[in-house]
Symmetry: C2
Subunit: 395 residues, 2 copies
């Protein structure tokens, strides 16, 4: 189970929600385990999951007919699947069908609800929720469909609910922590693979190919690949080019793919040959900031307090002019889950959160330096999800 | 230039739009060349491009401060860049800065507009468009921001405009056709790479790793990777598993990554060893359907007519019960650009469209068979963007 069911139910109760509808791919996968490919790779395709409040009924999945095969193949546990749209799937009547194909056949034999809203409305009405207060994740539903839903349920109260999912997803279940540990590991192995081809004359693209190829061979999916060298490392979102490595160059990785749908986001710095004193001093300073966060983060601590103390540490340890907008964020199905480690945040660390802590420094004409670790907030502190050190690496 | 500027202007004129705002990543890249990483890899980050009607002013880019480096590094031609949000970028004052870094410095020296809507409103007001009729692409802007924009421009008329971009993007510019040819080529080479590891006992995952690794080494980005074997090939969106290849298995590829931001979507079928008569007959039938489309498609022809005749051909040539929801779609920055080759469509082929034509057949207990080519509609017919044959491949 990916979903933190009790946290969702508690929040729904506080908000007075009788039901909530996931529409963004992250929230559909989160509430059902259903990875609806089309909505993950494009914007527009609609899949939803309806979750009634605690004790108020079973969940329902709304899926286009063309994605029913994924529901069966992924063994999605939710039984009520409402399909919409025509999609031709034949069946060889002369063979004994596997359980998966039997389920596809059963789902195909149910009525076509016409479109995604029609399917959702039927699930809502069958649960007697047509006069209910229903939160709808506003990120994945196309606005025309949101309007249509409101019109189809004139006696219901429809509110926006993306924030409710974001809040819920912030505290991870054991299965999610396991997946995040795996995604961090894939990213670390991919950095090792990239560094194994780092030598004078190697290009940023060659490092990036090695990085992503390793991510793939470890079962991951490439997403974030900021791999830049020399002065280009100062480009915070820089993409790999044909620039060739020269001795003394910084190699900055701000990287991470998906592993079992869960994101990694980590950062490491290497130098080809002997680093300059400035690189060493500044890297030590940002790393001191990261390590300070290890000491500070525990349940009950405000994220804004960690922000202030981490920035203060980096300043004291070697970059007196250090400034940042944030020094970290949650990580999960999305690369920026809650909480935000920012000066203005009112959020507080909770047991079970998974966090990226980072202290990047970008200086045009010099370099970009960055360390970023993934951490899991435990009962009385943190455990790192990393297997490698954030020390400066010499290659 | 990616954008078909005249087609956009003509459509805006017909719709009476004084300006249009791109918000989805595809439309931001399309109208400006700006690939704003954060909005491509997540849902939520906001980048926009404002395009006034013909002769009514210059374009503007709205970007978070943290993505300005990409604007400079990608040499985005639009000069008016409005930034929002705090993001620290230092500058070594002792070095001569590259042109790229000089541009970042100039953009940083402009005012912070607070948030994406504030930046957009300032660009609209500076063009005297605050009483204008403005189309806003509703797919990429978060609903709260759409509301905020409407409230900030009480005298303007704001309409939804995603369809206007979709219409415009349907007819490709020369640069787009070149990129699509490249993306098709990367996908074909990746299929070859996957088939090079296909042998008895090889798993679907091993084929997929070879496929995606080749996509990466050719400079592409993995997106769609339906690679399934044997009875699993009947799963239309099936994802690779540990299933091992046995002799006689169908290997179905429905695949394609991105190349220079442009999608591929192609399909090929291979068989390990000798194909059964049913496979041969059915594959010949679906391929006959595809080849029929080659003869039919030219400017002025209705897509629904092609749908009917392609389905009819597949039925006549060997699958009498053949049914489909569509036999193709446009391809470009999105995997499903306009037009749709569907029975109900009122769309007509136009010179410059790039199209995927496909005739998949899914039969549980037997196999999935599919051929899909990418085509470019020319003045009097089509040219294929493919380098490989859609014939059944024996490995």
């Amino acid at each position: 189970m990916l979903m933190n069911t009790q946290r969702l139910f508690d929040r729904m109760k506080r908000e007075g929600l009788d039901a909530i509808v996931a529409t963004a791919p992250e929230n559909v996968t989160y509430t059902s385990g259903f990875w609806a490919m089309s909505q993950w790779i494009r914007r527009g395709p609609q899949s939803y999951v309806l979750t009634p409040a605690e004790g108020c009924g079973e969940q329902a999945v709304i899926a286009s007919t063309g994605t029913l095969d994924l529901i069966a193949d992924q063994d999605v546990k939710i039984k009520d699947v409402r399909r919409y749209g025509f999609f031709a799937i034949e069946s060889d009547l002369c063979v004994d069908h596997e359980v998966r194909d039997q389920r596809v056949s059963r789902m195909l034999s149910e009525d076509d609800c016409g479109d995604a809203v029609g399917a959702l409305v039927s699930a809502i009405q069958d649960r007697g929720l047509d006069t209910a207060r229903i939160g709808v994740d506003e990120i994945g539903i196309i606005p025309q469909y949101f309007d249509k839903l409101v019109a189809a349920l004139p006696r219901a109260t429809i509110t926006r609910a993306a924030e409710t999912f974001r809040y819920t997803r912030a505290v991870k279940t054991a299965e999610e922590v396991k997946r995040l540990r795996g995604s961090a590991r894939v990213a670390e192995l991919s950095i090792d693979a990239a560094l194994s081809v780092a030598k004078e004359g190697a290009t940023e693209r060659e490092l990036a190919y090695a990085f992503h190829a390793k991510t793939i061979s470890e079962g991951g999916t490439p997403v974030l690949g900021v791999i830049c060298t020399g002065p280009r490392s100062a480009l915070s979102s820089g993409q790999p080019t044909e620039r060739k490595l020269v001795r003394g160059d910084v190699i900055r990785f701000d990287v991470g793919g998906r592993h079992m749908y869960y994101r990694a986001d980590i950062s490491r710095i290497a130098v080809l040959g002997e680093p300059s004193d400035k690189i060493k001093t500044y890297h030590r300073a940002i790393r001191a900031g990261l390590l300070r966060a290890y000491d500070l983060i525990k349940p009950g601590v405000r994220t804004s307090e960690v922000f202030e103390k981490v920035v203060e540490t980096v300043r004291k340890e070697g970059i007196p002019h250090y400034k940042r907008n944030h020094v970290g964020h949650g990580i999960g199905l999305d690369g920026y889950d809650a909480p935000n480690i920012t000066p203005g945040s009112s959020e507080v660390f909770e047991e079970g959160m998974c966090i990226c802590v980072e202290t990047p420094y970008y200086e045009m004409g010099f370099a970009g330096l960055q360390v970023e670790d993934m951490l899991h907030v435990t009962k009385d502190g943190i455990e790192s999800l990393m297997s490698t050190s954030s020390e400066l690496r010499i290659v």
